[in-house]
Every structure is written in structure tokens, then in C-alpha cells.
Symmetry: C2
Subunit: 167 residues, 2 copies
């Protein structure tokens, strides 16, 4: 059985016991979270978030890419979130690689450079990486200055969230 | 108290009872999920995913943008996922807007067109939107052809996942 089929089985059970009520499209806690795609950060457990509470924007690294900024803009302007948090984490896959080496290696493996991402967003300083994402979000002309934007590191060994102060 | 402070409080409790063990950076079920950022889809409940199981890539709409493709490439080539699923959902914020109208409205609201996303990725046909994302992922030169990519619609009223067949 493929994993997708296993998820469909799990979903059948979920539907039978569905009790989330009628949740609105606008997040109840008016929060958007930008975080890494890492499998070890599940927001319901780690942050006490419940269905309907917050937008969850996630990519490799938890980077404020153009696409993540698009999502934050949609989140605030269309769906009225009023607070953003950014989460990077220890033991991130992108902490262990070098941008150029990765591009060269994958182009060789795949037999073509076509389709290579413009940036992988590899990084070597975790806290500085969080600060860089804070800067990108806070300086965006379509993100109003009154929105609080805070940054955190999630420790995958302890489950603890630590705040990173903006520079 | 800000929502971020509430999450930090919730996280303190989580850390006290932390029992996830030593989870590896490579997702145990070798799966990557690309889904909308919508607050109503919590994967632990809806899909039976556990911490450590799968990469979670999420943006406004659940769109296979360049950034989402970057994340899928990192997920497969660096962290060995072998199966992808794409999830869009009913009552999506991007189903209710028109690309040009949105851009004009926000440029006016913010007093500048600078920083406008190149695309908002608004759409008007939910199933066709899923098929479009399937096409983008499957046709990418750096996504190997042997990786199964399946698409789904999540119904926010019932919690049910329905498969969308690729065209």
C-alpha cells in the first residue's frame, strides 16, 4: 500500500468522527506561521494550535521567499491575520549543505541543469538565518508596519522554542 | 498577551512532557505533502500523520510554485522522500478573488505597487487547479518520473479527502 493510500484510510476514520464544527476561513487566532517543512514540527503538539487557529506556511528552511511573502500578504490582506511568527529549527537539512555544491551535484545526478532552483536557500548560521527572514518580512512594502513579526528556533531534540531577537 | 506569547506558554508545557524520542531529519514515511496554508487542515488529525512522518510544504492555495518545487527537490534529493501528495481544499480564499482585481486593490490600499507578487495564484476551478499542480510537479526535470504524485481535495465541512485524477 502506498503512503497516500494509508492516509486515505486514516482520513476515513477522521471523517467518521469529525467534530471540528463549522470553522471559518479566517484564522480564529489571527496568526500566520512561517516555518520549515521539517517533519518533526507538528504545530498542534508543539505550539498548542488547534484547527482553525492559524495559517501554516512552510517550505524548505522556513525562508521568507517571494512565495512565502505572497502567502503572508494573502493571509493578512484577504484573511485578516494580524501577527506573524517565523520558525527555523536545529538539525535542518539546509544547514548541512552548500548552495553551489548542491546545484552542481543535482545537475549531474539529473543530467540537466534545467529546472534548478535559482536558490536553494542553504545557510550556515541558524540564528542569523532567522534574523534574515525577519528583515525580509518586516521590510516588505505590502506588510504593514503594525504587524508584530517574531522569530524562533525550534529545538528538535527537546521540543523547545527559543526566541531570536531581531538585530 | 500576544498570540506568540500564548504559543510560548503552550510550548513550555509541551517541552515538560516531551516524549517524541529521537526523530531523524529524514521523514520516516518518506512522504512530502504540498498543501494550502489554510488553518483548518491539521495533518495530524486529518491524515493520521505523526511527528517525523512527512515533510509539510504549505503556501496560499497549495500551489506548485517555484518555491514549492524547490522544497520538493530538497525533500527528495537531500532527505529521500519517495512519494508526493498535493492537497487543495473547498472554501479556499484564492477561489473567491480575481488576480487583477486583487493586485489593483492592494496597490491602492498600500499606496504602492512595489512588492506586489508576480502572481497571487487565484483560481476558479478547484479540481482543475489540483490537476495543474500535478502537471507542474510531474513535468519538472528535477523530479524523477518514478515518484508517485497524487492530488486531493480536502472538504473543510466534512474533513474528507477526495482524489483528483490527473488529466
Amino acid at each position: 500500500m502506498s503512503v497516500a493510500d494509508e492516509l486515505l484510510k486514516a482520513n476515513e476514520q477522521f471523517v467518521k468522527n469529525y467534530n471540528l464544527g463549522d470553522l471559518a476561513v479566517r484564522p480564529r487566532r489571527r496568526l500566520a506561521v512561517l516555518a520549515c517543512m521539517d517533519s518533526r514540527i507538528l504545530f498542534e503538539r508543539c505550539l498548542g494550535l488547534k484547527p482553525g487557529d492559524a495559517h501554516m506556511i512552510r517550505n524548505a528552511g522556513g525562508i521568507a521567499t517571494e512565495d512565502a511573502l505572497r502567502s503572508l500578504i494573502v493571509s493578512h490582506h484577504l484573511l485578516d491575520t494580524q501577527e506573524f511568527i517565523i520558525i527555523n529549527h536545529t538539525d535542518c537539512g539546509l544547514l548541512k549543505v552548500r548552495e553551489d555544491e548542491l546545484k552542481t551535484r543535482l545537475a549531474k545526478k539529473m543530467g540537466t541543469g534545467a529546472g534548478a532552483p535559482a536558490h536553494f536557500h542553504a545557510f550556515d548560521d541558524l540564528e542569523e538565518n532567522v534574523r534574515e527572514q525577519l528583515r525580509r518580512v518586516k521590510s516588505h512594502p505590502w506588510i504593514p508596519k503594525h504587524i508584530p513579526v517574531r522569530g524562533f528556533v525550534y529545538d528538535v531534540k527537546t521540543g523547545a522554542l527559543s526566541e531570536v531577537e531581531a538585530a
